[in-house]
Symmetry: C2
Subunit: 603 residues, 2 copies
């Protein structure tokens, strides 16, 4: 138990008091999950929950100046309770409030002070319906005219989509729009635009519509916005880098319009970390539920009777354990990346992108396989895995489509010098020793590093070769080498995770009981999943590859000795689990409840 507590603190080391207070607040009946609720009721309920949380004063955009990781902590802890609530908090405190803190000046302080207690609720209006993955093509304009900006959506394709927090009551929205001064396009800037009066009535010039029903995240009141020649004051411009004088003279400390755009969306780096944290929490909760269920669920045993927990089946173990080991190692890496992010390390944007991509993809798989291996119980909303799976999909393409983020990461990898890449001891100069040795963690890391070095090398060579054949870089990147581009970014992310996992193992010998089986299975799984790649390049001999397969099989079995303890170390209070499949199915089904925890009248 002491070990479990140490492991809990190791995975969630920072802002323990924020975590504790959020989880304690969530014991309020308002947070009891409800499933068969209508879309408007769901959104209203999530709003009420955010309201209650905000009264605790636990999180504020001003944390950016004093304790930035507190934003991550608050959001990821809320995600253990309600994914939509966490998303709304992330938008309110980080993307809306944080952008104000980063880009605003004195004149925006009054609004900033109102963000934490929700007197000023806001959204972030970036994506336009016609420009999903190409934000530089945005068409919304902010035209300087007689001392004001005129915000306008020239056509349907410029309508702002996916604006969180905004359908029900936001008073403010940060609008990303092309600034036009004297007929000249000064690039995309961020404007703080009031869309509702404090009494809730909508200002003229803006049209707000619900995005409607989605696969998940239906507690979040996402809106679509259209502006028609809406006049906003000069002070609406978030003027940290660019400004306009009352006389209409534009100035900016950033010469390039692309830099102005990237400064306007800089808080997305933090957003991606928030999102990674949200789906990491969803994965932890699902893992706890799936493992508890598997340990209690009895099915066919040696004599044909229903007397054997399905967790003892190799099939269940092979399906779930590698996903759990990977989740823990991703979590360890996420903690490292948060630190890099807060330090403002130059690698932070790429690390944030690759982690957000890896964690959201992984979460979708982990939730999907957990759902599947729980059978019908996983399919019922009351067991939470299913609804979280629907929401997890939003992580894959929200805040930057994963594949687009990976392209960006890969293009930065291409620019690295050899000395900035991992240094190899064995590979690729000579083939690794045979099977017996492959299972050492040092050699597994060597393989994972070699993959990154070699894939990036192959990608560079392929680009060079095709350019020499007069192919454009665009065509090479988008039409010929896209698998290698994605693989390069993934290899980079996996190497970082493997290094962090091994660092944890060496720094925390006291946690070896948990970390050794976890890290070993994770590294073996990474290599096993790319076995053909290693074999084709002669990095692994067939005998060594078979060794990896055999070691993987044994590593899964060994993980079984810690699996049940490990999932109890995720700091999730018993009262917040709710899923009957993780508690007492017979008790749940002995009452008439329509699959809900609350009477129908209260839904």
């Amino acid at each position: 138990m002491a070990l479990r507590t140490s492991f809990s603190h190791f995975l969630a080391p920072d802002n323990r008091s924020t975590r504790q207070q959020v989880l304690t607040a969530a014991l309020h009946p308002l947070f009891i999950p409800r499933y068969a609720v209508s879309l408007p009721r769901n959104q209203e309920l999530t709003n009420q929950r955010l309201q209650l949380i905000s009264t605790l004063g636990l999180v504020s955009p001003l944390d950016l100046q004093t304790n930035p990781t507190n934003l991550f902590t608050a959001v990821e802890t809320l995600a253990l309770v309600d994914l939509s609530l966490a998303t709304k908090a992330s938008i309110q405190f980080n993307l809306f409030g944080g952008t104000l803190v980063r880009l605003g000046t004195e004149r925006h302080q009054e609004v900033i002070r109102k963000v934490a207690n929700l007197q000023a609720v806001g959204g972030f209006a970036l994506t336009e319906v016609g420009h999903g993955n190409n934000a530089l093509g945005l068409e919304t304009t902010a035209t300087w005219e007689s001392g004001e900006f005129v915000i306008n959506s020239p056509n349907v394709s410029s309508h702002k989509f996916w604006v969180s927090n905004t359908f029900l009551g936001a008073q403010w929205v940060i609008v990303l729009a092309k600034l036009i001064v004297g007929g000249r396009n000064e690039g995309i800037h961020a404007f703080l635009v009031r869309i509702r009066h404090d009494n809730g009535s909508i200002l003229p010039g803006v049209d707000i519509e619900s995005m409607g029903m989605k696969l998940g995240d239906n507690g979040n009141d996402l809106a679509k916005l259209a502006f028609s020649q809406m006049r906003v004051p000069r002070e609406a411009l978030l003027n940290r880098y660019s400004d306009i004088s009352p006389e209409g003279v534009f100035s900016s400390t950033l010469a390039k319009t692309s830099d102005r755009f990237f400064s306007a969306i800089q808080q997305l780096v933090f957003s991606r970390i928030c999102m990674a944290g949200i789906f990491m929490s969803a994965s932890k909760l699902a893992t706890l539920i799936a493992i508890r269920f598997s340990a209690k669920r009895l099915s066919t045993g040696p004599t044909g009777k229903s007397d054997t927990p399905i967790l003892t089946y190799q099939l269940q173990q092979n399906a779930l354990f590698p996903l759990i080991a990977k989740m823990v190692c991703l979590d360890i890496t996420l903690n490292y990346v948060k630190g890099e992010c807060v330090k403002g390390s130059k690698d932070a944007p790429d690390l944030g992108s690759v982690l957000k991509a890896m964690i959201t993809w992984h979460s979708e798989r982990l939730l999907g396989i957990s759902r599947e291996r729980m059978g019908g119980q996983g399919y019922l909303a009351c067991n939470r895995v299913g609804p979280m799976l629907g929401t997890a999909h939003s992580g894959i393409t929200g805040e930057g489509d994963n594949v687009v983020l990976m392209q960006k990461v890969a293009s930065n990898l291409m620019r690295k010098k050899d000395e900035e890449m991992p240094q190899l001891k064995y590979c690729p100069k000579r083939q690794l020793p045979e099977m017996a040795n492959v299972a050492t963690l040092e050699l597994l890391l060597e393989l994972i590093k070699a993959k990154e070095v070699m894939v990036v090398g192959e990608l560079k060579a392929a680009v060079r070769r095709r350019q020499q054949a007069n192919m454009s870089f665009y065509d090479i990147w988008m039409k010929e080498e896209s698998d290698r581009v994605q693989l390069a970014a993934r290899a980079y992310g996996e190497r970082v995770c493997a290094e962090q996992a091994l660092a944890a193992l060496s720094q925390r010998p006291d946690l070896a009981v948990f970390l050794t089986p976890t890290v070993t299975l994770f590294l073996l799984d990474l290599v096993k999943n790319d076995l053909a790649w290693f074999l084709l390049r002669g990095v692994l001999s067939p005998a060594a590859a078979r060794g990896v397969e055999e070691e993987w099989t044994q590593a899964v079995k060994r993980f079984g000795s810690i699996a049940q303890d490990l999932v109890e170390a995720f700091d999730i209070p018993e009262e917040l689990i709710f899923a009957p499949a993780a508690k007492d199915l017979k008790e749940f089904y002995s009452k008439k409840n329509y699959g809900e925890h609350l009477p129908l009248a209260k839904l």
Copy 2:
């Protein structure tokens, strides 16, 4: 266009008039999709839709005696309109009605005659909450007592779960229960039990509760049932094989209790085909929507402008095209398996199981990747892919968890004699010729056959070796060789699909424009996905394996020339697509609609 029509008819050759009539009926406004509806409203609406369809007189359980494939056709066509509607139809006409036809006698004809027009609505109560995957452990009893059966649920774990069609109005349920006569357990039998009067009131002795909200399929009014000493007449027993005289003398033409059980659930073979057809239709609709969207959606082009359809990106093609090629080949195979099923071929149960498993798993992936590659548009309910994805999960573990079906298939493979297995020309005696030749379809099929033969051989050898080391078969099967067990069943299913795909290619040279790129990509994809397996066994040399990768890349590109035409050949009327992403996004978003096709008041 003529070619497209031929291809349509080739994929959907039978019962063209049923297809046409279902699709025409679905033009009624009742079938307009609604998304943000409450659970009860959703279930009521789906019931109304089934009612309307039943008035057409297109499908009846009696089709089993005259034209059994009509059941499959009706269900899979309904799935193009509404997945829950199709599921409900499948249960009503096939599993409920079909079981009555197969197991009932003269005394059940009156009910049978009422099934087609829904005067008798019914469910099939098999699964118990405590016995998900071990139906032989069922605890519900039917005890013979003073000339009647007493149906009883002794405890919570014996409550019947997942009983389709039953929460809202079914008058009847077929209950699977252990028959006890004079204290003796005669095995599990099927009983036709009345649970509601015609006026809708529930009979005493049965408790009916909603299963509550689920990840998908929320239009289906699934119920949980508990029986407390409910008395039903002697005629409730479906007495085709077993019967009891008024004096209480039990007799059966089936000596073994396991045979009595399997006869009682025999209609599940047809159910699995229905389910495969449902998710095949979902995949077709999703494919059409994803490809149309990708062809219209513009993003970054060579000059940075949003002027290039994302369907031209290799990333989009590599993600979607192999899934589509596999879907078409699975569909071709499904048509073959329907025929085997109707003929009552001895392979039909295994073929049905493996196809249901492969199609439902594939559908979940195809819908998930289509959702992902459509970005936010894929996430909106109005574009249909997301909601269908939620429902697709039910296919993986419903009507038999896929992994359990695969175990059964593998155990039957183990019993096959060498001469019943595929005969090989090259493998595994000698390595296949190098790369240049691998891309011939004949050699690809040879590899796929070799995999089946070798995996089954390896599994037999592993079982033998471990049994010699005194391990029990149960431990070998459940704790040591489960990956090989699953792989063996998959290898069998893939070989059948590959053979059927090639047979189609040779029988229909007129469709070569569609079939050649499709079948080629499918076979390459099967081999590419198991490249490490082939390399490790020396069946493919590294050079040949690289050849497979290169050919795959080219095959994806070639598929691009037919992709847009192909997806238009799925017989889905324009008026039934609905998804704005596949039609005109600007038109959809130029109106205030809350993401719905109907005004809020009508939802």
